[in-house]
Amino acid sequence: MSCDFTRTVLHGYLDGELDAAGAAEFESHLESCRECTTALGAEESLRSSLQRSGLYENAPVALRKKIRAGLDAATASPAALRIPAWRWLAVAAAILLVGSISWFAWWRPARDSASTAPFTAAEIIDAHVRSLQPGHLTDVASTDNHTVKPWFDGKLAFVPPVKNFADEGFQLVGGRLDVLGGQNVAALVYSRRKHIINVFVLPTKEPDTPIHPPGLRQGYQWRHWRRQGMEYCAISDVSDSDLYELAQLLYQ
């Protein structure tokens, strides 16, 4: 009850914040001080209660979304800095036009005749969900594109472009063979803050198309585009802005 250490050094010891000499000194004090021994036991018990209690509260998903929207609003788009306000109408009209053309180009075939679309939305989602089951994500697990790329050699009739964008926040995790719409495809796996992004790649004879507006179903989003004889579809549960960022990196 009168030991000064109980109210001071004991806590530094408990928290691992004493230097080696200080900790040794306190330990030898503990051997002779019953009060400190009891107090240390009590503090350890309290600490383990606090840490086992589940008192930590994570941010709700809705808040995360609100914050992202707020960040977007506070970020200047490059266009907004240069284009005078009166031109926005023309820009909006152009976006609408391109958007609706892409929408028709991408969605009509999928709905009307499956023969022109290489795969359907349901197939992409199924393939993505399947990949997330334990042990299904990668056939070759590596963050090195020079390991992943050669792995595909001889397994497919084409060579998928494999790039790591770790510096941009998209870490390459590995690659996998998958089947989409009855065709063998390469699946490149990226992680974005613990979220998994699958990028499916297969050859196409169609001309290049820009990155289409996002598709959304069951909480998954996807982006589709064609580039230099390859058809790409990136799918994930990350935000569309993240997905679009990766799509742009791959499009370059």
Partner: protein, 188 residues
């Protein structure tokens, strides 16, 4: 980690800032939310305040020159919480941090283990502590911050973090065992 690190929030932020913020600061949103939740004791209020703090951090982001992003963010969260408390619940902030603590016999580990086993009781006991005690406990025990980080976040000198934690823990023990007289009587 000083106030000047927060800099001026006048620059227009671009897509590159946005990406960097997303990578460095946004992963600590849970830490921000948890601190706000325990400082304000209300989920509804803390959502608003955590959002405000996050956007504030973004406006100040050009002033962040690397280092401990979590501590930098939590410092802003804490300041935003205190501003909110001053405006909405000034009475809560009136407890002096350096109040004299009456020496009390140590509670036995067994009594504490019983009292601490109940999440509800633990949560209520933590909420009865003044904010300045609550925050050091939350930062240390729930967030796992070092003394150095706690000093940076709460703006108390690093030399007093240890005694602040000692007081906070004693208060928490007292609150826990007072709320359960039958357990408290079993001690010693």
């Amino acid at each position: 980690m000083s106030g000047s690190d927060q800099g001026k929030g006048s620059d227009v932020l671009d897509a590159q800032d946005r990406a960097r913020f997303e990578q460095l600061v946004l992963p600590h949103l849970d830490a921000a939310f948890n601190l706000a939740r325990w400082l304000l004791k209300s989920r509804a209020d803390c959502e608003d305040v955590a959002q405000e703090a996050m956007l504030r951090a973004y406006r100040f982001f050009r002033g962040f020159h690397g280092g401990d992003a979590r501590a930098w963010l939590l410092q802003i969260v804490r300041n935003t919480c205190y501003t909110w408390l001053e405006k909405n619940r000034p009475v809560e902030l009136m407890t002096e941090f350096d109040e004299e603590l009456h020496p009390q016999p140590s509670t036995s580990p067994e009594a504490l283990a019983i009292a601490g086993d109940n999440r509800e009781r633990l949560s209520r006991a933590l909420e009865t502590l003044p904010p300045r005690f609550r925050e050091v406990l939350v930062l240390r025990e729930l967030e796992g911050c070092s003394y150095k980080e706690i000093a940076a976040i709460t703006a108390i000198p690093i030399g007093t973090v240890m005694s602040a934690l000692a007081r906070a823990r004693q208060r928490l023990q007292r609150a826990l065992t007072h709320s359960s007289p039958q357990e408290a009587s079993r001690e010693l």
